[in-house]
């Protein structure tokens, strides 16, 4: 099972700092979280970058990951 790590407002909303997920793709992950946390702000999540094992993916729509991956949502980084 991959591990979705939560921090900040996401962790506060979920009431936990990590969730085990069976999905191996970003889209499947969103659907899985929809069922676990129906109150989460999916639009907000979809505006965030996704991190797979330390690799930041700005547009994760088609992203896949391993069953033992560590996953994060982070704010997209602004350009300077």
């Amino acid at each position: 099972m991959a591990t979705l790590k939560l921090s900040g407002a996401l962790a506060a909303m979920a009431g936990c700092e990590e969730i085990e997920v069976s999905a191996t793709a970003y889209r499947g992950l969103l659907q899985e979280i929809d069922s676990i946390l129906p109150e989460w702000d999916r639009a907000k999540i979809e505006s965030m970058a996704f991190v797979i094992d330390g690799e930041i993916v700005d547009e994760p729509f088609l992203a896949t990951f391993e069953r033992d991956s560590e996953l994060h949502f982070i704010e997209k980084i602004a350009a300077g």
Binding site: I56, I77, A78, A79
Partner: protein, 750 residues
């Protein structure tokens, strides 16, 4: 890429392809374009920092024979009342429109209220006096403390704080709150032998780009309307204007002129939509150019900040807890870089317990814009100052303290992911071993050091490489060149193709002649557009092998391509790239490679800076006597431009730390809106900035690139602040360390 490899062109110091045009004045910048029939636009700006607009009367201006068009907020079709009623508006779009032309309230001195287009520049300026605006003047809110006070005047009566645990029930000037935590901060402080807590502040500063904002726009009903402007991202200019004007992307063509500095400040739009409105109304091309005063008063500076840092450590130097409370000024509309400030503040440290809380605060100043590593210099200044004080208190060398607690591969960042291979330890060791750090400190001189971090980003880039029949070619990219990227693209393509970089002409194309490219910023271009260049060049190599195979009547597998030469593995034949190109017509036509990528795997970058400063005890004047910038570039494609980025970041950070600040009077009027009084460092102010390039390759990039533009501005603030503190033997908590403030600290001592 995980280990060093040999390169032929990468790492060389080639001549930059745009250099001749720039030093001879041939290059065309934002204000250089003139079109037949062109007229001039000018902006009427608010004389008040905070006021309601009761009315705008343009009748007298309209009656002028010289005036051909007038624009106000009501001319934004996408944000007018009908769109608002339909509920289709995004708040950030409304904010952008209201920043470009105020709707019913002005929120900073210099806020644009209306615009005119007239036959001449002088006539346009004169016509501004014919627009009558009736204001109800309100009290300005000019600092974080004033903005968050309980009885503070509200800039936006509907603004409620986002990010609170419980939704806000009343409006305030705090637009957003962010909280990040790792471990148990109370436990971390309980484990500490030493705890220090300090507060710091940094001023509003400007990017200081030499070229003002400028644009020439030609609205066209029957073809794409042309927008010419100096920008870091012409595709995003197109997108923003299309949103504001309810136009299709295909109705707009944005041409990126040469750009005289951006540093993040040219990632938004100010004049361009106004010029488009005026051009549409007048039926003529319109030119608009900000003067320096406009740039200071009405373009986006970097946030002022207030930070409180609390650190806990054991006497052996193990940091047990790091806590920060960070406030960032957003200016007139929400959206400071508070988020990245929170995310970066403690990233150079591998500490178990951390807690960060950030606030985005609106004030009656211009809406802030990005500035190199947006948000990081402010927060990391505070953290690094405190870490240096902690080192002194424990009695440990500040580099040793950092090495003991340094972020490394596997470190869990407070914003989430674990770091891959990073170069902080290598930078710290390079600093420790440097001749600068080993050298004695002269009398009257203070020494400071600081680490710094920036994420770097990837994103979308598109590139076309076309080869000509003689083996020369062009690299068509869409990333405006703000720091020498044309040369980097040449070199990366040349490395893959095995030809001299000068054989390839890099071209920054407009929005119609190359596919989408994300804005140049975030240190993404050499990384991401470079990856696109490599991919396009590899496509070209594949085609070259196919064409050679066709000429030799062998299979592609029987052809190798080494150093610009195709080798027939089934015989002894060879063909140069130019020879294959010469035969392209009979082997299938044009040889051309394209790549459209969304680059992943940007490599985080760390830097360490050393600074020696002499302080005149009589006047408080500071002189930087020696400065060294050490940074992990991953791989330096063009070392001279990498060093230039290190030096540029260092110099801008030194300016931020020593002299630069927006000075406002009580009415909210900036009193130093010009380079005479807003003091950026000159070449004569500084010693040569020494550089040490550290190369710890980014495993996600074919050549190991990390990106170098941002990180270099992060460490100088604390390196300088600590050096000044060391020189005067007094703690420094407020930037800039300008002579009056330093003298005040010295006098306080006596």
């Amino acid at each position: 890429m995980s280990e060093a490899r040999a390169f032929k062109h990468i790492g060389q110091r080639t001549i930059r392809p745009d250099g001749f045009d720039k030093v001879t004045g041939k290059a065309n910048y934002g204000a250089d374009l003139a079109l037949p029939g062109m007229i001039w636009g000018a902006i009427l700006r608010s004389p008040h920092a905070h006021a309601n607009i009761r009315s705008i009367n343009t009748e007298r201006a309209e009656a002028s024979s010289d005036v051909l068009a007038i624009a106000t907020f009501q001319d934004f079709p996408s944000v007018n009342d009908a769109a608002s009623a339909a509920g289709t508006l995004r708040k950030d779009l409304i904010d952008t429109a209201q920043n470009i032309l105020a709707q019913d309230k002005v929120l900073y001195h210099g806020h644009a209220v209306a615009a005119v287009a007239a036959r001449t520049e002088a006539a346009a300026e004169a016509a501004l006096a014919l627009i009558d605006v009736d204001y109800e003047v309100l009290s300005p809110v000019l600092s974080i403390d004033a903005a968050i006070a309980e009885d503070a005047p509200l800039l936006h009566p509907q603004l409620k704080t986002e990010g609170l645990v419980e939704p806000a029930d009343s409006p305030s000037n705090i637009a957003a709150r962010m909280e990040l935590k790792k471990g148990d901060i109370a436990k971390g402080f309980a484990e500490a032998d030493v705890i220090i807590e300090r507060s710091y502040d940094t001023p509003t500063v400007h990017q200081g780009y030499i070229e003002p904002h400028a644009t020439v726009v030609n609205f066209d009903h029957n073809a794409p309307s042309m927008i010419w402007c100096p920008t870091q991202g012409h595709f995003d200019v197109r997108a923003r204007i299309a949103q504001l004007m309810n136009m299709e992307l295909g109705q707009l063509k944005v041409v990126a002129s040469e750009i005289g500095g951006g540093f993040g400040g040219k990632t938004t739009v100010y004049l361009e939509p106004v010029a488009l409105i005026l051009s549409k109304k007048a039926g003529r091309p319109v030119k608009m150019v900000m003067n320096r005063e406009d740039v200071f008063r009405a373009s986006g500076p970097a946030s002022a900040s207030q930070s409180t840092i609390k650190l806990g450590a054991k006497m052996d130097g193990t940091i047990t807890a790091m806590q920060a409370t960070l406030h960032y000024e957003a200016g007139a509309f929400k959206g400071s870089p508070m988020g990245p400030g929170c995310m970066t503040v403690f990233t150079p440290y591998d500490v178990e317990h951390m807690y960060v809380e950030g606030f985005d605060v609106v004030v009656n100043k211009p809406k802030v814009a990005a500035y190199r590593a947006p948000g990081a210099p402010q927060s990391e200044f505070a953290a690094e100052m405190a870490v240096n004080e902690l080192a002194a208190k424990i009695g440990i060398d500040p580099i040793d303290l950092r090495l003991k607690n340094a972020a490394r591969e596997g470190t869990q960042t407070i914003y989430g992911p674990k770091l891959k291979v990073v170069g902080l330890e290598a930078c710290l060791k390079a600093a420790q071993q440097s001749e600068h750090y080993q050298s004695p400190i002269a009398d009257g001189v203070g020494r400071g050091l600081s680490a710094g971090f920036w994420f770097n980003i990837g994103g979308q880039s598109s590139v076309i490489i076309n080869l000509n029949p003689d083996g020369t070619g062009s690299i068509i990219e869409g990333s405006p060149d703000i720091g020498g990227s044309r040369a980097s693209m040449q070199m990366m393509a040349a490395e893959v193709l095995g030809i001299a970089p000068g054989k390839l002409n890099p071209i920054v194309a407009d929005t119609e002649h190359v596919a989408y490219n994300q804005t140049t910023g975030g240190s993404r271009t050499t990384f991401a557009t470079g990856m696109a260049v490599i991919e396009a060049a590899e496509s070209v190599v594949s085609q070259l092998k196919e064409r050679a195979a066709a000429l030799w009547n062998v299979t592609t597998e029987q052809v190798d391509f080494v150093d610009g030469v195709a080798l027939n593995l089934a015989g002894e034949d060879s063909l140069t790239l130019a020879q294959i190109c010469a035969a392209a017509e009979k082997t299938g036509g044009q040889i051309s490679g394209t790549a459209n990528i969304n680059a992943r795997g940007a490599g985080p970058s760390f830097a360490v800076h050393l600074c020696d400063i002499k302080v005149d005890p009589e006047t408080g004047k500071t002189d930087v006597v020696r400065y060294t910038a050490i940074q992990d570039a991953g791989k330096a494609i063009h070392p001279s431009y990498v060093e230039g980025q290190f030096q540029g970041g260092a110099v801008q950070g030194i300016g931020w730390a020593l002299n630069e600040e927006y000075v406002y009077n009580e009415s909210g009027v900036m009193e130093n809106a010009g380079f005479l009084d807003y003091r950026i460092p000159l070449a004569s102010d500084l010693p040569a900035i020494e550089t040490i390039i550290v190369e710890v390759p980014n495993s996600f990039h074919p050549f190991g690139v990390r990106g170098v533009g941002e990180t270099g501005i992060v460490p100088p603030l604390a390196a300088v602040g600590t050096a000044v503190a060391d020189a005067i033997q007094k703690p420094v908590s407020s930037l800039p360390c300008s002579p009056p403030k330093v003298l005040e600290l010295i006098m306080a001592e006596s």
